[in-house]
C-alpha cells in the first residue's frame, strides 16, 4: 500500500490555503474540536440540495425516491464503515451529545436504571458523556460512580469495582483532552461480567482509526459527523439491534410511529423509532460522502498518519523548555490531541498569541472540567491533528510557542 500523501489530501480542503490576518497562512491544529471538510463532501450536499431535494420516507414521487435512497445510502455507508452487523442499528441524531442523551433517557424511561442502581463513568469524560448520566442518576435516584485516571493520564481500572448494582458503564474510547486511548475491550469484558450495558463515546475514535463495533462488543457506540470530515448537524448512535428493539422511544413525532390515535400510539422498529421528525437528510448524504472519502484513503492510513504526526509533535513539545504535556507523553495508545501548559502564560494567552501567528489551537477546559481539576489545572492549550496535518505545521506550532514565551517573558 502506498503511503499517505498529505499534500494530495490538502488539495481537497480549500480552507487550508487560507491566509489570516497579517498575511499568515492558516495552521489548523484544532481538528479534535471539529475537522475541516473536503470539497467532495460539500459538493455532495450541494448536489443533493439543488438536484434531488425532497423529504424522505413519506414521499412516493420520484424526487422523494431519490432523496430517500440518498439518505438511506448514508446509513448503509456508515453501517459498513463501523462494521455494524445490521444497517438498522445505525440511528441518526444531531450530534454525539444527542446520541448519548438518547441512551441515558431511554434507559431511565425503561426502568433499566432506577433508584439504588449504579452508573459508572470515568473522570476522563467529555461533558457530553458525563452530564447526561448525572441527569439520569439525579432523575432516578441511582448513584453515579467513576473510574479515576493515573498521573500519566491512563484510566485506573482498579479505582472502582463493578458489581451487580452496576447497570451502565459509559466510557470514552479516546480522551479529547489527554489523547489517551482506553482499553475499551477490557472494560466491556468487566461490565458484561456483571451484566452492565456499555456505552462507548467514540467521538474521537471513529474519525481516527478503523472501528468495528461488532468486534468491540459494546452495547452502544456514539460519534459525530463534524469530526470526521462530515457536516455539522448529524451524529450517530449505533446500538445492538435486540436492545434497540426493546427500548422505548426518545422523542415523539413524525416517522417514529407505527400507528397513532388520540389515546395511544405504537412505535416503528429501530432505527426509525429513534428518529422523530424530518431527519438530517442532506447531512446523511454529506456523512456518506465523508465516509467514502475516508475509506478511499483508508482508515489504516489515516491512523498511521495520526500516529506519525502525534509522535513528531510529542517530540517537538517535549523539547520546549517551560512546556508541560498533560497526558501520556509517549505515542503509545494515544490519539492525536495534545494538551499542554506553558509556564507563566495562561492558556488563553497562549492560544491568542499562537493565533496571531496563524496557528489555530483550542484553549480552555475542552469540555472536560473534572479532568482538568484532576490534574490541578483550570485550563490547558490543546493542539490536535488530522489526516491533513503536516510536520511543517507542527514546526510552526513549536516556533509560535517560543514566540509566545518570549513575548510574555520579554515585556
Amino acid at each position: 500500500m502506498a503511503g499517505h500523501d498529505v499534500e494530495a489530501v490538502r488539495k481537497d480542503f480549500p480552507i487550508l490555503t487560507r491566509t489570516l490576518a497579517g498575511d499568515r497562512p492558516l495552521v489548523y491544529l484544532d481538528s479534535a474540536n471539529t475537522s475541516q471538510k473536503p470539497r467532495q463532501v460539500v459538493e455532495a450536499m450541494e448536489r443533493h440540495y439543488l438536484e434531488h431535494n425532497a423529504n424522505v420516507a413519506r414521499a412516493m414521487h420520484q424526487l422523494g425516491a431519490e432523496a430517500s435512497a440518498a439518505f438511506e445510502a448514508g446509513r448503509d455507508k456508515v453501517a459498513q464503515f463501523i462494521g455494524a452487523p445490521r444497517r438498522d442499528e445505525v440511528v441518526f441524531t444531531k450530534n454525539a451529545s444527542e446520541a448519548l442523551n438518547l441512551v441515558a433517557r431511554v434507559l431511565g424511561d425503561d426502568g433499566r436504571v432506577s433508584a439504588g442502581d449504579e452508573v459508572v463513568v470515568t473522570t476522563m469524560e467529555h461533558h457530553s458523556n458525563l452530564v447526561p448520566w448525572q441527569l439520569l442518576t439525579q432523575r432516578t435516584g441511582a448513584d453515579l460512580r467513576w473510574f479515576d485516571v493515573t498521573d500519566e493520564g491512563r484510566l485506573d481500572l482498579d479505582s472502582h469495582t463493578l458489581t451487580e448494582r452496576t447497570k451502565v458503564v459509559a466510557v470514552t474510547w479516546v480522551s479529547n483532552m489527554l489523547g489517551t486511548i482506553n482499553p475499551v475491550e477490557e472494560i466491556v469484558r468487566r461490565a458484561h461480567e456483571v451484566g452492565a450495558l456499555v456505552v462507548v463515546d467514540a467521538s474521537q475514535a471513529v474519525p481516527q482509526f478503523p472501528v468495528d463495533v461488532a468486534a468491540l462488543g459494546a452495547d452502544f457506540v456514539a460519534f459525530t459527523g463534524h469530526k470526521m470530515v462530515g457536516p455539522t448537524g448529524i451524529g450517530v448512535l449505533w446500538g445492538r439491534y435486540d436492545l434497540l428493539a426493546e427500548l422505548p422511544p426518545f422523542l415523539g413525532g413524525g416517522e417514529m410511529i407505527e400507528t397513532v390515535s388520540m389515546d395511544s400510539t405504537t412505535f416503528a422498529a429501530p432505527p426509525h423509532r429513534f428518529e422523530a421528525g424530518t431527519p438530517p437528510i442532506a447531512q446523511s448524504v454529506g456523512l456518506g460522502a465523508a465516509v467514502d472519502y475516508l475509506s478511499r484513503i483508508g482508515m489504516d492510513q489515516v491512523a498511521a498518519h495520526e500516529q506519525r504526526i502525534t509522535a513528531y509533535a510529542l517530540d517537538v513539545l517535549r523539547e520546549l523548555p517551560g512546556v508541560s504535556i498533560v497526558g501520556p507523553k509517549e505515542p503509545v495508545d494515544r490519539g492525536g490531541a495534545i494538551s499542554f501548559t506553558v509556564d507563566g502564560v495562561h492558556p488563553h494567552d497562549v492560544a491568542q498569541l499562537l493565533d496571531s501567528q496563524g496557528v489555530a489551537v483550542r484553549a480552555g477546559h475542552h469540555c472536560a472540567k473534572p479532568l482538568h481539576a484532576r490534574f490541578g489545572v483550570q485550563s490547558t492549550t490543546r493542539a490536535s491533528f488530522y489526516l491533513y496535518t503536516t510536520e511543517a505545521e507542527i514546526d510552526a506550532l513549536g516556533a509560535a510557542i517560543r514566540h509566545t514565551q518570549s513575548y510574555f517573558g520579554a515585556r
Partner: protein, 151 residues
Amino acid sequence: MNAANVDAMYQEIILDHYKNPHGAGLREPFEAEVHHVNPTCGDEITLRVHLDGGRVADVSYAAEGCSISQASASVMNELLVGKSVEEGLQTLTVFQELMQGRGQVEPDEDVLEDGIAFAGVAQFPARVKCALLAWMAWKDAVAQASAEEDS
C-alpha cells in the same frame, strides 16, 4: 418510472384483483390473528390464518390500502390456501426476492402464478412495502399459529 413503467406496475391482473379481491373478509376458525401497518403510508391489514395439520386451510383478511397492497393480499390468498406451510413459506421467499430485486429478477410463473404481475412494482422502491404488507402479516401469523400448534 415513466408512463410506461406505471403501466408495468398497474398490470391488468393487479387491477382485476384490486376490484375483485379473492378471499377477502375475516373468517372463523383461525389460530392466529395479526394486525400489520405500513407506517409510511398508513396501509393496514388484519389477517387470520387457519392451519390444519401443516396445511394452510384458510387465510382471511380485512385490508385497507392502495391497489397494490389489496391486490397482493388477494393474490396471496389464491397462492397459499391449500398449500403446506412449508411450501407457502417458500413461495413467500420467491415473492420477496422478486419484490426486492429492483426489477432485475425474472419472475417464476410456476411458483408465483398471478404474482408475477408484481414484477413491475419492484421498480418502485416506495411501493414494494405495499406489495409485501399482506405477506409479512401472513408470515407473522403463521409463526404464531405454529407456536400455538406446537405447544
